[in-house]
Structures are given as structure tokens and as C-alpha cells.
């Protein structure tokens, strides 16, 4: 994980000293990826928005304790992904499988790219833990070591989840190809 850029450090410093415009800059910079990451793990638009929002609220509550030498993104993504995994597991426990989780009816919004739709729908067929590491690796672009650190997992577990998740995803995508 590289350290924060000068601009981000300035935003964090500003937000810590009470500047709402600096907080807004941080929010605008980090919202899209946090929201997308949550969405790709939970596959529920409303829940993803809620998880991203909750993560920012948690970040705001703990802003004073944040070490501004560290990058903001990993701190936020750790909250987002952990909450998204919890949410997805809780939904499974509640047997709320229903239509929203069906790969066929997965709403990818206006993506315009059939492969993107296929990937998003394919992810829906994976376990939440597998989705999470794939999203962290390929959307948020963390290394397996960084993912292990952020999710408090052994590195071997991250690697095996990545491998199994990718295999399963490929299997799903192959099945969907003409």
C-alpha cells in the first residue's frame, strides 16, 4: 500500500481540523470505488449504498484518531468489504436468496458492455468471501498480502480464495458463452 498523496494528506488534515469542503473532497474521491466494491460483494443496490454510507459515517466518527500518514482508501475499504461480507452472509442465513441473487436477473445497470454484465452476473454465483477477495484484488487493486492484512486473514487463505473464486467465475462465464 503506497502512502497517501500530498493532496489526500491535505484533505485529511483539513477534515480533521473541521473543514467540510476537505471532507467532501475525500468523499467524492472515494465514494465511487467504495460503493462499487460493496455492490459487487453484496449484489444489492440498496444494501451497497447503505454499506458505503455506513463506512463513511464510521470513518467520520473516527476521523480524529486517523493517522494522516496512512492512506485513507485502505482504511475505508477494510470497513466496506468487511461489512459487505457480513451483510452477504447474514442474507444467506436469512435465506433471502430470491431473485436479486439470481445471476440471470442480476441488475448491472446501464453497462453497455456484455462482458461486464457477464462478469458482474458471474460474481453473483460466488461465495461472498470469494467475491470479496476478487473485488479487492481486481477492482481495488490490492496485492494478496495487502488483502490478507486488511481482512485479517492468512495470506494462504487469500490466495486459495482468489484461486477458487477465479476458477468458479471462469466456469460460470464459460457456461454463459455461446
Amino acid at each position: 500500500m503506497v502512502g497517501p498523496g500530498r493532496q489526500e494528506r491535505a484533505w485529511i488534515r483539513g477534515a480533521q481540523s473541521g473543514s467540510a469542503s476537505d471532507l467532501e473532497a475525500l468523499f467524492r474521491e472515494h465514494w465511487p470505488r467504495a460503493h462499487r466494491a460493496a455492490f459487487l460483494v453484496v449484489h444489492d443496490a440498496a444494501a451497497a449504498e447503505d454499506i458505503a454510507q455506513e463506512a463513511f459515517l464510521a470513518a467520520v466518527r473516527n476521523l480524529d484518531r486517523f493517522d494522516r500518514k496512512r492512506p485513507f482508501g485502505p482504511w475505508l475499504h477494510r470497513i466496506v468489504v468487511n461489512r459487505a461480507i457480513d451483510w452477504a452472509r447474514a442474507r444467506t442465513l436469512r435465506r433471502e436468496t430470491a431473485e436479486a441473487e439470481s445471476a440471470d436477473e442480476f441488475d448491472t445497470g446501464d453497462l453497455g458492455n456484455p462482458f461486464s454484465q457477464g462478469v458482474a452476473a458471474g460474481l453473483a454465483g460466488l461465495k461472498p468471501e470469494h467475491r470479496a477477495v476478487i473485488v479487492m484484488r481486481y477492482l481495488l487493486e490490492y496485492t494478496p498480502g495487502e488483502i490478507a492484512h486488511l481482512l485479517d486473514l492468512p495470506r494462504g487463505t487469500v490466495n486459495s480464495r482468489l484461486r477458487r473464486g477465479l476458477d468458479r467465475l471462469e466456469e460460470i462465464l464459460d457456461r454463459g458463452r455461446p
Binding site: 465511487p32 460503493h35 443496490a45 449504498e49 447503505d50 461480507i85
Partner: protein, 386 residues
């Protein structure tokens, strides 16, 4: 595969991403502005919160996630539960409460005295709290709460009866009978079917209007009908089946609360906005004289409930964070003078009275014991005279 996957994932946008950002920012900003000074009296509990969070994290490391979440919520409730009065000895504002528990509806007076009104399944006030309309099994009735719940009239139907609601002028009572919506005159006469194939949501009379009644259809449309002529005034497109319909005091806004979404409609049935809700308890209550309302927002990820203030205008923005606690808030009621908000905090077995105009909260404990079970719904009557 890896490069393709990276490329494709980077292209995906979450549905409604920009709208979500627009909705989230006011809440984040409100939380940021509420950081210092803390609005509600939680400052002294901060170290306790930190300890509870530490316990939760430890639990998360040692136990399965589901058990950890339950455990952490329990710990946090124990820590955050407010020291309250052991019993309800008075209400903080004038008015009378109607609290629906599993034993039946209870009348609670300003001095805290209470009385069970009988073995009814649900109840709601007549416009000036002179009577209450109650239902159970196959019966709808009007009872006099001041006279030990004496029945003034009742109507029996073959199908199940529920969701009785008295019109604002007192001359009509609407109720659900199976899949039908029926209306009876306020003295119990002239009982008629108004619509068939309606949803299970209790109907809602539009305030300040002449017998206009909002209800949901089985396909999730919201319809406004003039009950005397049976004429449909407007009807929305199908949507999520709502659980509650709540009008603003001036009848210009209608909130449509579902399990997964909240929609705000204007007086012509046009949608102003819609927001997604997480699974869990939710509730809304309009603040008096305006289009601002308090909403319960439960987060399954943290197991906490927040109270936030939003507005039923074209933009729900300017949201204000009011209060937060672990567990679930079950009911909301605004005092007739508009200054107090009653919140049912079921996990802590407390009613919280939050003063909306100042940083003050009063807690009353042992609610389930007082009412036989924790009341699922509470209404606080009646609107103060202008």
C-alpha cells in the same frame, strides 16, 4: 483472465451510483458537523462505546460472524442503555398515548396512568382522541377509552378485519376486510366496500381533504380515492408493497414505507424521490407543521439503528443525524406540540423521549413489563390547536 477481469470490473458502475452519492453526502456531512459538539448526551459514554467496540472486535475474531454480531449488539446495548426512570410516571408533553401491545391497546395519560382497553388486536385514535377504532378477528368497533373501553358500535364481517383508521373529520372509518377496503360512517352505519384487491397496508386518510383515502393495491400501486364518490383521484405505477402510508400534517406529502424502500409522493401522487433501505426495522414520523420527518434507519452490518431527519421535498437533502443506538427501534411518535419524539427501543426495553429542539433525552425502562409486551406501535394524540 486476470487482465480482462481487471478491465471489466473497473468498467462496472453500481446502479444509481451518482444518486447514491448525492443521497449519502448530506448524511455524512451531518455526522461530520455533529462530531463536535456532540448533540445528544453521549459524550460521557464515549469510553464505554470504545470498550464495547473492543469487545465486539474480540468477539468477531473468536466466534462465527452471526454470533459475534449478536454478542456485540448485546454488549453495546448493555453499555449504551440509558439510565431511565423505572416506570412511566408522566409524559414530557401534553397528550395521550395509544400503545398497541400483544395484550391489546393501552391508553396512557399525561400523568403516566395507563389502562388496557380490551382484547383488541390494533387500535388508532379518532381525530380528537374521544374514541378509538379497534379491530380483532372479524370485527371492527369504536370504543370509548375514557369509559373503560366501552364499545359504542361494532361491525362484524366474515373475512379478517384489520387496519381501522378514522377520517380527520370523524365522519368515516376505513378498514381492511380480507383483500377489500371498506368504509363505514363514523356512527357505525352504512358499511360499504370501496375497493377490492387491495394490499395489506392500513389505509391513510389525507388530512385537510374531504374524505380522500390513500391505500395500496396488491401490485404495489398507491391509489388515492374519494371515498364518498369512489372516484380514483390518482394512482401510481406498481412498486414495492408498502408497510405504512404516512401523510404530512398539511396533506401535501405522502411517505410510502416498504421493507426495502421509502418513497415520497406529492399531493398529486408524483414521486419526489425514492431511497433504498436495508433489511430491518424501519419507521417514519412527520415532524409537525412541515415536510420534515424522522426516519429509523437500521444497519444490518453494524446492528445499530439511527434516527435521521430528512425532508419530503424534491431533494431529501439537508439530512440531520439525531440519535443512534445498538439494536432496533420499533416505533416512533411525535408529541402533539411537536417538541418531543417517542422512540421505542425494544432491545433495551425502553421508551426514549427525545426533545427535538434541544439536546435532551429521557428514558423510561421496563416497558414490556408495564404493557405485557413491548408495544409494536404508539400514537400520540392529538395535534395541538393552531
Amino acid at each position: 483472465m486476470s487482465d480482462d477481469l481487471r478491465r471489466e470490473l473497473q468498467k462496472i458502475q453500481a446502479p444509481d451510483e451518482l444518486e447514491g452519492q448525492r443521497r449519502a453526502w448530506p448524511l455524512v456531512r451531518a455526522a461530520f458537523e455533529a462530531r463536535e459538539p456532540i448533540t445528544w448526551p453521549r459524550r460521557s459514554l464515549r469510553p464505554v462505546f470504545a470498550a464495547a467496540a473492543g469487545v465486539a472486535i474480540l468477539a468477531g475474531a473468536l466466534s462465527p460472524p452471526g454470533r459475534a454480531l449478536v454478542g456485540s449488539v448485546h454488549d453495546a446495548i448493555t453499555s449504551e442503555k440509558k439510565k431511565g426512570r423505572p416506570a412511566l410516571t408522566s409524559l414530557p408533553a401534553p397528550g395521550v398515548l395509544l400503545a398497541n401491545s400483544s395484550q391489546g391497546p393501552w391508553l396512557v395519560r399525561f400523568d403516566g396512568s395507563r389502562r388496557l382497553l380490551g382484547p383488541w388486536w390494533d387500535a388508532s385514535w379518532s381525530p380528537q382522541a374521544k374514541y378509538a377504532v379497534v379491530t380483532r378477528a372479524h370485527e371492527v368497533a369504536a370504543i370509548d377509552p375514557q369509559d373503560k373501553g366501552r364499545v359504542r358500535w361494532s361491525v362484524a364481517r366474515s373475512g379478517s378485519v384489520r387496519g381501522g383508521r378514522w377520517s380527520p373529520d370523524g365522519f368515516r372509518v376505513a378498514y381492511l376486510n380480507g383483500r377489500s377496503l371498506r368504509v363505514v360512517v363514523g356512527d357505525g352505519t352504512d358499511d360499504k366496500s370501496l375497493r377490492r384487491a387491495v394490499g395489506a397496508t392500513p389505509p391513510a386518510w389525507r388530512p385537510t381533504a374531504d374524505h380522500e383515502l390513500a391505500f395500496s393495491t396488491v401490485d404495489g400501486r398507491i391509489e388515492l380515492v374519494q371515498s364518498d364518490s369512489a372516484k380514483t383521484l390518482w394512482r401510481t405505477v406498481p412498486g414495492e408493497l408498502p408497510t405504512r402510508l404516512v401523510w404530512s400534517e398539511d396533506g401535501q406529502r405522502l411517505l410510502v414505507l416498504g421493507d426495502r424502500s421509502l418513497r415520497a409522493l406529492d399531493s398529486n401522487g408524483r414521486r419526489l424521490w425514492s431511497i433504498g433501505l436495508p433489511i430491518g426495522p424501519s419507521g417514519v414520523a412527520f415532524v409537525r407543521r412541515g415536510h420534515r420527518f424522522v426516519m429509523i434507519r437500521f444497519s444490518p452490518a453494524t446492528g445499530r439503528s439511527d434516527l435521521v431527519l430528512l425532508q419530503a421535498e424534491k431533494d431529501p437533502g439537508e439530512a440531520r443525524f439525531l440519535y443512534s443506538a445498538p439494536g432496533e427501534f420499533r416505533s416512533l411518535a411525535i408529541s402533539p406540540n411537536g417538541r418531543w419524539l417517542l422512540v421505542g427501543w425494544e432491545n433495551a426495553d425502553q421508551w426514549l423521549f427525545l426533545r427535538l429542539t434541544a439536546a435532551k433525552v429521557q428514558a423510561v425502562s421496563n416497558i414490556a413489563q408495564e404493557f405485557g409486551s413491548f408495544p409494536a406501535g404508539v400514537s400520540w394524540c392529538c395535534p395541538a390547536s393552531p
